[in-house]
């Protein structure tokens, strides 16, 4: 049953994303693309783009978007509740027990060890967005027809601009989109 699947997938995303921000991305990808095939890699890239441009945590954004795509508004409600549920349980327990575990050395030790794993999994999720964006058919290949030159150029320029001037990421993304729109309008 689709609602149960949505619930189970998004409970896992809520329960195992440590560190906030992009930490949920590899988990979303694993559930939504690899396990259930609800959306493809291109839609996932669009979802991350949309999440980046709208307020709210990426996990909540993904739950609302994917839930809607897969099973309409009720699916979105189920997925969104599911993704917030582990937080509600875990944080409430911690908040209640907090006086006892004031220093939380164990928690901090675990988080410090998790950080490098989270970095490499976000990197992997970033690659699954980058590769189909730059290579046709999503396969690494530098043959003439397999390589999207404009997309690769946008990526390189955007990365350079981000590192050099640290502007608002939304503006960089919009810039890439607008340039592509202008080029396609002029050429075609």
């Amino acid at each position: 049953m689709i609602y149960l699947q949505l619930f189970f997938a998004f409970v896992q995303i809520g329960a195992f994303s440590f560190g906030g921000g992009y930490a949920a991305m590899p988990l979303i990808q694993a559930q939504v693309i690899d396990t259930y095939h609800w959306i493809n890699a291109t839609d996932f890239a669009d979802l991350v783009t949309i999440a980046e441009m709208t307020p709210g945590p990426i996990a909540i954004n993904a739950a609302s978007f994917v839930g809607n795509q897969v099973a309409g508004i009720l699916g979105a409600v189920v997925a969104t509740i599911a993704v917030a549920l582990p937080s509600c349980i875990f944080v409430t327990i911690l908040a209640v027990l907090y006086q006892k575990y004031r220093k939380m050395t164990l928690m901090q030790g675990v988080l410090a060890t998790l950080r490098p794993a989270v970095v490499s999994m976000i990197f992997a999720a970033g690659l699954t967005i980058l590769i189909p964006t730059i290579f046709r058919d999503g396969v690494l290949s530098f043959a003439a027809g397999d390589f999207k030159i404009r997309s690769a150029l946008y990526f390189i320029v955007a990365l350079f601009v981000l590192r050099k001037w640290k502007p608002n990421p939304i503006l960089v993304m919009l810039g890439c989109g607008v340039v592509e729109l202008i080029i396609q309008s002029v050429i075609l």
């Binding site: 195992f16 307020p55 945590p57 164990l106 990197f123 980058l130 960089v172």
Partner: protein, 191 residues
């Protein structure tokens, strides 16, 4: 903390998290700073020290940091009804926005302009993510801790090349983290 006018607190809590969630771009860390500004500096409902502890809980728990922040805040100010109210406030804005966008995404995905815009923006978002990854990567490199290096390399290979389930990798690393913290603690006890 006011308790006589509990309804007033709950309403204030709901409207605050709703407002912060609807207008905060840039992720959980930003929203937590804004929560502190509102509830510590402006309303004086929470002490500064206590807020720092609440931020620590929100950041070290799994799940979206903005939701975790709303939960500790809600619990502190309104008990379990407070949790319900503040979580709803945090969730409703992104839920509504993404539901509307999801509808338009299907309707407009085939349009020429949206298609071109999204094509360009995918390159941009890949650059944004890899730039963030680079900063996080340098943070790990600076730790000069070979166990962290090993965790980083191994989890990448397992995830990207061997397609091992992400949840399994995280669980395994949690076990390593518990063991390390426990062993370090024992070392400190017996010098």
């Amino acid at each position: 903390m006011p308790s006589a006018d509990n309804k007033h607190v709950l309403r204030r809590l709901f409207l605050s998290t709703l407002y912060l969630s609807a207008f905060t771009f840039g992720g959980g860390y930003v929203i937590i700073t804004l929560m502190k500004e509102r509830f510590v500096d402006k309303l004086h409902w929470i002490e500064e020290d206590e807020m720092l502890d609440m931020v620590a809980i929100a950041q070290s728990s799994p799940g979206p940091i903005a939701v975790n922040g709303a939960i500790v805040l809600g619990y502190k100010l309104g008990g379990f009804p407070g949790i319900l109210v503040s979580v709803l406030g945090a969730i409703i804005p992104p839920f509504v926005i993404l539901t509307v966008i999801s509808f338009f995404y299907n309707a407009f995905k085939s349009s020429f302009a949206i298609q071109a815009l999204l094509t360009g923006m995918r390159s941009g978002v890949a650059a944004v993510i890899l730039s963030v990854v680079w900063d996080m990567f340098m943070g790990v490199v600076k730790s000069r801790d070979w166990i962290l290096y090993a965790v980083m390399i191994l989890s990448f290979v397992l995830n990207y090349f061997l397609h091992v389930n992400v949840v399994l990798i995280i669980l395994a690393v949690i076990v390593i983290g518990i063991l390390r913290t426990w062993l370090n603690g024992r070392k400190e006890v017996r010098p």
